[in-house]
Symmetry: C2
Subunit: 125 residues, 2 copies
């Protein structure tokens, strides 16, 4: 399909040519979008599995804390985690502000779990 129809070509042909270019670009864009979304879906599956693994570790930490009467939250550890992640994010090209928000989002959930473990423990005793 000609991308640059001759100047003397009938108007209808020129219009069809333009539409075809637009349509080709749109088809290509759709293909790229499908491909990108496939990668994003793969990454999301990996994220979910890593998060599941992370929570199995924090679950053990929660039991340990409850057993030894340690508080569910540990602000100095959290500060260290956030500082480290901001630095890792910076190196990896991820917005450190987002990395910090992400870490706080996860840690809030973890503390909720730890509190639940502690409260279930005291309900049992």
């Amino acid at each position: 399909m000609p991308q640059h129809p001759a100047a003397d070509a009938p108007k209808a042909t020129a219009a069809t040519g333009t539409d075809a270019v637009t349509s080709d670009a749109a088809t290509h864009a759709r293909e790229v979008l499908v491909e990108e979304r496939r990668s994003i879906d793969n990454i999301d599956a990996a994220l979910v599995h890593l998060l599941a693994e992370r929570f199995s570790h924090t679950q053990r930490v929660g039991v340990l804390k409850a057993t030894h009467g340690l508080p569910p939250a540990d602000p100095s550890r959290e500060r260290e985690q956030i500082d480290r992640l901001r630095s890792l994010a910076d190196d990896a090209g991820l917005d450190p502000v987002f990395a910090e928000a992400f870490m706080r989002f996860i840690v809030t959930e973890v503390i909720r779990h730890h509190e639940r473990i502690r409260d279930e423990g005291s309900a049992d005793s």
Copy 2:
């Protein structure tokens, strides 16, 4: 160190024995905690790198959407992503409610990026 001191042992010795048991348990707990936190830190580094990779894909999607005049948000795609992640989370032993909240947290940030790309694009034109 005796865990069950003889009934006729002097009180001081019995107390020392108990302290030693407590201290051994506390030392072990601290060791386990350090080990668990090392694993958590490794997982967090992996999460940050995956998130950086995810945002490099969504950045390309944002440019594609802006170029083709597609809206930054896509509710039907988001619904599909959330349903899929809830199911993956369920299989992986991760709370599906948390998986959904996590996905919404990420997607909110992505839409913000897409809007920024679109607005920067129209500012240029």
